[in-house]
């Protein structure tokens, strides 16, 4: 594993068998930065020809006065033969202004690495995949240099608290079992999965960016993005500073599916993008697992449909490990504990479940837990289940006044019996370890 700063030179050093590979990398970067470049077009220029040859040919391309047909290996532009000529001319004009060595130096300065398809740094799983470009930009450390199992955790942006919790727990359990968690990084499931994978001391995760590796989806996510880049890696097929255009999302999803040995869909709407990732994985014969959700939740409609279509249901991290043929790798053996380990659901301000204090498994919520509860708290607790409910619903179900219901909820959150999802409350299935047991324990104190 090599840090990104020296990655380019390391990649060059490791390629003893191919001479002048610095030139080839520089030319590949310059080609990738051409306007209207797509992964498919880049593949033709990099893989089906050699990058320096493509670059030389482009620069030497004659101006429009004596136009000649492009060679066969050249990518075709929109609009057939004519479109191709136009595209090649655009590229030639741009190429004459660009010096590949300067681009390579710029990437080195910004701490961004680049790996060509034949270099050892390039993920082996991508070899022979026809939908990837053959050039991968990255920040951080690429874990793909040696055989490491990787799992894509994907799902919707508008997730429920249930989905977020499951994604977080999955991410953490998998990373602790030595699995690389691969996903995009947008709000909802993927952000929670990445945060979970970073929570423990386990394997660092990998984010696949839609735009350049320096283009964060939203400002709220940029701290998480930086943490991933510092411990794990952010990879992309797109050159630096390119925006996350709409058309790039399917390409990104295909790359996620191609990088992962197993894909887990946590929550997906009926026509969610996560289903496209699942389909791309199925086409590559990678196992797809889906986390079952409530039949009433529209956020689980797509993932439940996957299960009814024959996908393996994912009932816990062990199921994923079994699919990876790694059963037993999870810490504490392959007990089938389900996805609900003894964890308090106190959340920090960003909404992440906070780290667990060592407390061991606790008995399922029941008599022992509600012992110290007042009449009101019990009434509120009886009206709650694990579907999120608003204060209005809680008030109506418990028959309490608004103030009494609000106070009881506040105390129950302090006891760790109820989770507060920003105005939406749901009951937690397990009692927390003692660290959260007092009413005085607050989210803020723990944070």
């Amino acid at each position: 594993m090599v840090a990104a700063g020296e990655a380019v030179s390391a990649a060059v050093a490791a390629s003893g068998e191919r001479k002048a590979s610095t030139d080839e990398l520089a030319a590949a970067i310059a080609l990738a930065e051409l306007p209207r470049m797509t992964p498919a077009r880049l593949r033709r220029l990099l893989v089906e020809s050699r990058a320096p040859d493509s670059w030389r040919e482009l620069r030497a391309w004659p101006s429009s006065s004596n136009r000649r047909p492009a060679p066969d290996w050249f990518p075709s532009g929109a609009g057939g033969r004519h479109g191709q000529a136009e595209l090649v001319e655009l590229w030639a004009r741009t190429a004459r202004r660009v010096e590949p060595a300067e681009r390579l130096a710029a990437y080195r300065r910004s701490g961004t690495g680049a790996a060509l398809w034949w270099q050892p740094l390039y993920p082996a799983v991508l070899g022979g995949d026809p939908s990837v470009s053959g050039l991968l930009f990255f920040r951080g450390e690429l874990p793909f240099g040696r055989p490491v199992p990787s799992v894509a955790v994907v799902g919707t942006r508008s997730a429920t608290p249930y989905g977020r919790d499951v994604a977080y727990e999955l991410g953490r359990a998998l990373s602790e079992a030595g699995v690389v968690v691969v996903s995009g990084l947008s709000e909802g499931i993927t952000a929670c999965a990445q945060a979970g994978a970073l929570a423990g001391e386990g394997m660092a995760p990998v984010v696949v960016a839609v735009g350049g590796v320096d283009v964060v989806g939203s400002t709220a996510l940029s701290p998480l993005w930086d943490r991933v880049a510092a411990r794990g890696a952010v990879v992309s097929e797109v050159p630096l500073s390119r925006r996350a255009d709409k058309w790039r999302f399917p390409w990104r999803n295909r790359l996620v599916a191609a990088l992962a040995d197993v894909v887990v869909v946590v929550e997906s709407h009926r026509e969610g993008a996560a289903l496209a990732t699942a389909e791309a994985a199925a086409r590559r014969d990678r196992p797809v697992l889906a986390v079952p959700g409530s039949v009433r939740s529209s956020a689980s409609r797509g993932s439940n449909a996957l299960i009814s279509d024959g996908c393996t249901p994912c009932l816990g991290p062990e199921d994923v490990l079994v699919a990876l043929s790694l059963a037993g790798r999870q810490q504490g053996g392959a007990r089938r504990t389900g996805l609900l380990p003894a964890a308090p659901r106190c959340r920090d301000h960003a909404g992440f479940p906070l780290p667990v204090a060592p407390g061991g498994p606790v008995a399922p919520g029941g008599s022992a837990v509600t012992d110290g509860c007042s009449e009101e708290e019990r009434a509120v607790l009886d009206g709650l289940d694990d579907a999120p409910a608003t204060l209005a619903t809680v008030t109506a179900r418990s028959g309490l006044a608004v103030g009494a219901a609000a106070l009881a909820l506040d105390r129950l959150v302090g006891r760790g019996l109820v989770s507060d999802g920003g105005g939406w409350w749901c009951r937690l299935p397990f009692a927390p370890p003692p660290v959260c047991g007092t009413a005085e324990c607050t989210v803020g104190d723990l944070g």
Binding site: S158, S297, G403
Partner: protein, 506 residues
């Protein structure tokens, strides 16, 4: 051959007393009005001549000069007609100066000698500055609430002359423009709202304390209906307040307020209305906008996110100061604008974003929407309540909720406790007054402190919750200390804008 008669006139939005001097002399017969009259005012000579003749009075075949003092200020409108006619009669000796000297005259004349109502009659009567004011019958009702003014009215010019001569009594002053039934017709009763216990409670608190309220919910959750109920829950206005309201409404020149003058006004401007009509202004004299017409009442902004950003920014000054200052080329006017703001919004463009996991919007359109809603204005709302669509059981249930009258009685009690304590509704208490007049128990303080420490409540937010908690305590019959329950309720009703969108996290 000279007479002086008092009156008042509008110039722009300012109402000024005017002295109408009439001079009649020998010479070529003619009638001149000087002293910067506008077109309507200059035309009064034709109306006055016709009205005098129709009323069986003599038109002097002499040279008549009318001066409107102060001469340097522009006079607008036809409200000086009556004063000019009376002044002319006094100048030719039909009436004596003693007979007219104790009165101020405001009114427009018809060609048949009848008296027509004037715009801003209440302001004009207040500015005329005399003990007795003579008005058209149609304008008198509006002015009748004005204290300290002896009010006389008459239907025609000949009736005015007869009354001044002592031959006949003045006409009786009609009662205040009472359209008591109007409110009940246009605004739904709270009993019609099914379910929504939280929003009902928030409405009650907003009405009692004058707190600004934001209702967030999907389409069909009844937010518009609830929002329009707020004004009808508020207690009646005091005499001073209702005169302030009546003066502002009379300046717009149109209809008297749609409800009885002692009820708080409800203004619900549409989101496409131009900025000038929201804030005030206008080319022919500065007129108060919707924010001032909602003074002492409710400004209801339905679909807040549809309002252009400029309109929402313009609301910040009135929310902060309780008034708007409009500077125009000719004048600079300050209108009062202290209203209770109630607004509704969808949680996101598709409307479903309130429930976790069911939003169908793209991230881009959601963040664009959020940017429009968040910002300084969103921070001004004391309560932000999310609504859900009512359940089918609630809709079909025959038992209706509490009617407006019951809630209004509770609100009135709480409001009078608050006013007795701090001299104003709780929503207007300063942070300094809060510390002095609204003590809280240690348990309630702990509750608020945890929120602040947890980073979920700003300093401004704490004061907001404190004021709301004060009102909750007033409503619950705890006039001294704010208890834990009251604070918990206030904090629960101050849902963060993120929570309303159902996305506490990313």
């Amino acid at each position: 051959m000279l007479s002086c008669v008092r009156s008042a006139s509008l110039s722009g939005s300012q109402v000024r007393p005017v002295l109408v001097e009439t001079h009649v002399s020998n010479g070529l017969p003619g009638f001149t009005v000087v002293g910067l009259p506008d077109a309507a005012c200059r035309e009064s000579r034709d109306r006055v001549r016709a009205a005098l003749m129709s009323s069986g009075l003599k038109w002097p075949l002499k040279r008549v000069t009318v001066n409107l003092a102060p001469s340097g200020v522009r006079k607008v409108g036809a409200g000086l007609d009556l004063a000019i006619a009376v002044g002319l009669l006094a100048a030719v000796g039909e009436l004596s100066q003693e007979q007219v000297g104790d009165f101020a005259f405001v009114g427009e004349l018809g060609l048949d000698g009848s008296l027509r109502p004037v715009r801003a009659a209440i302001s004009l009567a207040a500015a005329a500055g005399k003990q007795a004011v003579v008005l058209p019958v149609a304008s008198a009702g509006e002015v009748s609430a004005l204290p300290g003014v002896a009010l006389h009215c008459a239907p025609t010019l000949s009736a005015v002359v007869a009354a001044l001569r002592g031959e006949r009594d003045w006409a009786s002053v009609p009662p205040a423009v009472g359209k008591e039934g109007n409110e009940a017709e246009s605004v739904p009763d709270l009993a019609q709202v099914k379910g929504q216990p939280l929003a009902r409670r928030a409405l009650e608190i907003a009405a009692a304390g004058g707190h600004h309220l934001l209702l967030v919910g999907p389409s069909g959750s009844g937010k518009t209906m609830l929002g329009s109920c707020l004004a009808s829950l508020m207690p009646d206005l005091g005499p001073e307040q209702s005169i302030e309201v009546a003066k502002l409404h009379s300046l717009t020149g149109g209809d008297p307020p749609s409800t009885s003058p002692s009820r708080p006004p409800l203004r619900a401007p549409h989101h496409r209305m131009p900025l000038v009509s929201l804030v005030g202004g206008g080319s022919s004299g500065t007129r108060p906008g919707e924010v001032s017409l909602a003074h002492n009442g409710v400004l209801f902004l339905d679909e807040l996110a549809e309002f252009p950003p400029a309109a929402l920014d313009a609301l910040r000054q009135p929310l902060e100061d309780g008034s708007v200052t409009i500077a125009r080329a000719g004048e600079r006017v300050r209108f009062p604008a202290r209203f209770t703001l109630v607004a509704t919004a969808s949680p996101c463009p598709c409307g479903e974003g309130g429930t976790p996991g069911s939003c169908r919007c793209s991230a881009m359109s959601r963040s664009r929407y959020d940017n429009r809603l968040s910002g300084p204005l969103a921070d001004r709302f004391d309560m932000r309540v999310s609504l859900e669509r009512p359940r089918a059981e609630d809709l079909l249930e025959s038992a209706s909720g509490e009617p407006t009258a019951t809630v209004k009685a509770r609100v009135g009690r709480a409001r009078s406790i608050a006013v007795a304590r701090g001299g104003c509704p709780n929503g207007l208490m300063t942070p300094e007054a809060l510390g002095r007049l609204a003590p809280i128990t240690s348990a309630a303080a702990l509750l608020a402190e945890r929120r602040v420490r947890g980073g979920r409540l700003s300093a401004r937010g704490l004061h907001r919750a404190w004021r709301v908690a004060r009102t909750v305590a007033d409503l619950d019959g705890a006039p001294v200390e704010i208890d834990e329950l009251h604070m918990a309720e206030a904090l629960a009703l101050d849902g963060s804008s993120k929570a309303l969108r159902g996305s506490a996290q990313w």
